[in-house]
Symmetry: C2
Subunit: 192 residues, 2 copies
């Protein structure tokens, strides 16, 4: 059943009545994407918040001087969007792409707002989600300051083995804020 | 009245009954700090979430190779803590210091948890606060990738003139992720 993962995800933090659950599920749209499909293009209005039902997505920024910097990954059971632009319904600062064939459940800003007013338990659910996202960014900034690149790479491999198997070394390097050349040197030392 | 700022801050996002408001205020502890006082030392258990009633705080990280990196500022009407360590009640990854004489209202983790269960409107309040904090970090990562240091400095000056007047150039430079020497060069060009 396509909704079993997202319901398990909700139940980690909140309990819902059957009616509330049905209302929530009625707001979701299902989307299948192939490997390399782009679900959000940088510059387009960011209309949806995505739940990764299966597969793996990444968010990346392309700039005049930056070729392509991967700034987020979202594996199965994670949520992803360009949060700033989703909340403002403005032009996305990043693109979001499927790293492998994936199935998604997406929610529009309008429907999320309805959800908050109809089922207040979602305030708690997204409070915890936003809190986790904020903490993840904060820890990342501090780890970039405090840990050598080798340690950050080893930690990333231990923490996200599923991601490491699917993405390119270039994508991991830009996520960790190091050059691909430096990552190759680290891998050579470690004989990975 | 010492509570007028924090009540205004709450009322931006939620409405409370008088009883709920009184319960919330009963959980707060008031603290006065002098310029340069450290309210949280890196390595100590992070016990409180702070509301800046007046003044200005900053959070900074000190490492073996990093002398001192300012990673956050919190001016009047802002909230600050080491969120990861506050939620885990673990050793702080940063120190928090008063940049100028400040008055604070602080909330413990235990009292925040009671607040969530007693007054569910606080789920909404902190959902919005966490969301803003996450978005701020996300935008900062993207601006660091996409905007030249000069532009980031000019934007910071326009956005936070109150902070610029109080803190050292070294603190601004580390917050923007540039060297103090480079910041001096930017300021010289702009004749600031």
């Amino acid at each position: 059943m396509v909704y079993s993962n997202i319901l398990k995800n909700l139940h980690k933090h909140i309990s819902l009545t059957q009616e509330e659950e049905e209302y929530f599920l009625s707001l979701l749209k299902y989307q299948e994407v192939s490997k390399k499909d782009v679900v959000l293009h940088q510059g387009e209005v960011c209309k949806h918040l995505y739940f990764v039902n299966s597969g793996l997505l990444r968010a990346f920024f392309t700039g005049q001087e930056t070729k392509e910097a991967t700034i987020m990954f979202a594996m199965e059971d994670w949520w992803i969007t360009d949060m700033h632009c989703f909340l403002q319904q403005s032009a996305a600062m990043v693109s979001i792409q499927a790293v492998e064939a994936s199935t998604l459940l997406k929610l529009s800003k309008h429907d999320l707002d309805s959800l908050y007013s109809t089922v207040p338990a979602f305030e708690r659910f997204f409070r915890i989600l936003m809190q986790n996202a904020y903490v993840r960014e904060q820890v990342r900034v501090l780890e970039n300051l405090s840990l050598p690149a080798e340690v950050r790479y080893t930690n990333f491999m231990k923490k996200y083995p599923q991601i490491v198997q699917q993405v390119t070394q270039k994508q991991i390097a830009s996520y960790l804020g190091i050059t691909p050349e430096f990552l190759s040197a680290i891998r050579a030392t470690k004989r990975l």
